[in-house]
Symmetry: C2
Subunit: 304 residues, 2 copies
């Protein structure tokens, strides 16, 4: 089924203990659609860039079957830019520079050909813009998945609360879940978020895996224990892209299928951190993905 | 098969955000043997207390089938005492007071009737004392499991290195594994520990579960997501007790059975944190344990 992803397409400059990059392609929607491209062929992007964004990067997206009809290119303006530096533990980072540029007044335009989308992934951006996307669709998609971040919980709380009422699944990390609910226990936090709107809550715990709460049930997906994390940038978005891409491909939103989708998302995220930026998830094979998913089976399976 | 546990039996005084206790029974060997008592009937304790240790507490251990023939009671001396205060997040604590008392010159005496032990659990205490236990056994047990802590890694490193060569399984938490190996990645840390002696390494990650490394394979056991952690004291020892108790009961040290043993250990630990000290693991039924283990299956099972 068709997937629509809305979010940022950006330039990133990254520095980790292993090295640094020049401006490379980044942004939530980039990671989401690239990750989803290994699952769904009807993969539609809405985002905005400046005319400094190279055609070769758009070609890269198209080569992964991503439909960029909804990628607005604003002449005379510059692409969103973020640069960050990771600390030695790779779990914390400092933002070195942010230039909002075209994202300052992102006005998401939905091409007519996208109107039949069944799955909607709202990548991290201002809640008011995310809500605009829902309102600009003629029909409500079958499943709306929302990502957000600490910034919006702080500075746009009423907008976020209004938006939460409209979505089916919230994907956040543990700190965001705690910040949103003021509950330390993730079980209590998830229950509280469910009263805010989303029936399904996914809490990402980075190297500690991810929790799925839905229908009164709980599922835990481990993260693959890795020898080395080269660059964690985009891992959360890659996770979300694998999750919704798998759901769109299978068109099954049962709890059991969401469990599988989270495992696929976790597998995609485990690839993402192996190289800088989106490099690794640009160059994957189905065989590699299936092999990685089988590693998750081996890692967590036990018989009584 | 018979299990021998050596370690501390102590008085603890605990303070958490939920309340505080007077002197209650504590100590690594207390938690280990109580937890193991739900699995093995041949459950032998070596420890030392002062004559201030009440007979009723010894009765409690005996009622759980724990053989206290090896519990030395030193007349005119006082029992090891520890008091601690947990912070609001329940993940960090301050030691308020430590009185080593009888533990200062703990000289573990192995009763003749314990000499045939098949499984040996070396609860956390000075590595030189732990090594003494191995040397005082006429025959090497089938499996030797070692717990240690940051203190010994710091102040008794040569002793610990010598001891590590003699044991089969090391159980440590993530910080201890990193401290011992100076490797941040737990995968690398486990591999390095395996070069120090133990073929099997278990890394406890508290609320984030536990990892088992052995025979080139890795298994991850989740922790049960809990609404409330009432008191984490003893959870790690309870985990170790469930692990070795299950192994002793089944007398099977294959990788597949160690996976099951870790799930049972995790289930026992999830009970431990529900009440103060050892209160909850003193009052469990087999049905409760089996039900809890099934919750681990539900939590982590998925089909592709």
């Amino acid at each position: 089924m068709s997937l629509l992803t809305v979010g940022s397409v950006a330039f990133d400059a990254l520095e980790t203990p292993f090295g640094k990059t020049d401006k490379i392609i980044g942004g939530a929607a980039t990671y989401i659609t690239l990750s989803a491209s290994y699952f769904t062929k009807d993969n539609n992007l809405v985002a905005v860039v400046g005319d400094d964004f190279p055609q070769t990067m758009i070609d890269d997206l198209n080569q992964h079957g991503i439909n960029t009809e909804g990628l607005e290119i604003r002449v005379g303006e510059k692409t969103f830019f973020w640069s960050g530096k990771y600390h030695n533990d790779m779990n914390t980072r400092d933002t070195v520079e942010v230039q909002l540029n075209v994202m300052e007044d992102f006005d998401p335009k939905i091409p007519e050909s996208y109107q039949d989308c069944t799955y909607l992934m709202l990548g991290n951006t201002a809640p008011s813009i995310q809500q605009m996307v829902i309102e600009r669709l003629n029909e409500r998609p079958k499943l709306i998945v929302l990502d957000t971040m600490n910034l919006w919980i702080e500075i746009a709380n009423p907008d976020l609360m209004s938006l939460l009422k409209l979505v089916d699944v919230l994907v956040v990390n543990d700190e965001e879940a705690r910040q949103l609910t003021r509950e330390y226990s993730l079980v209590k936090a998830a229950a509280k978020i469910q009263t805010m709107g989303p029936k399904t809550v996914i809490i990402k715990k980075g190297e500690h895996g991810a929790l799925l709460f839905s229908e009164g049930k709980t599922f835990f997906a481990p993260a693959l224990p890795l020898e080395e994390v080269f660059d964690p940038t985009g891992a959360g978005d890659t996770f979300a892209g694998g999750f919704i891409g798998y759901l769109a491909q299978t068109d099954d939103i049962s709890f059991d299928n969401m469990k599988r989708a989270i495992i696929y998302g976790s597998a995609m995220a485990s690839f993402c951190v192996e190289k800088f930026g989106a490099e690794r998830i640009m160059n994957l094979t189905k065989e590699e993905i299936n092999q990685r998913v089988n590693e998750f089976v081996t890692l967590s399976a036990f018989g009584l």
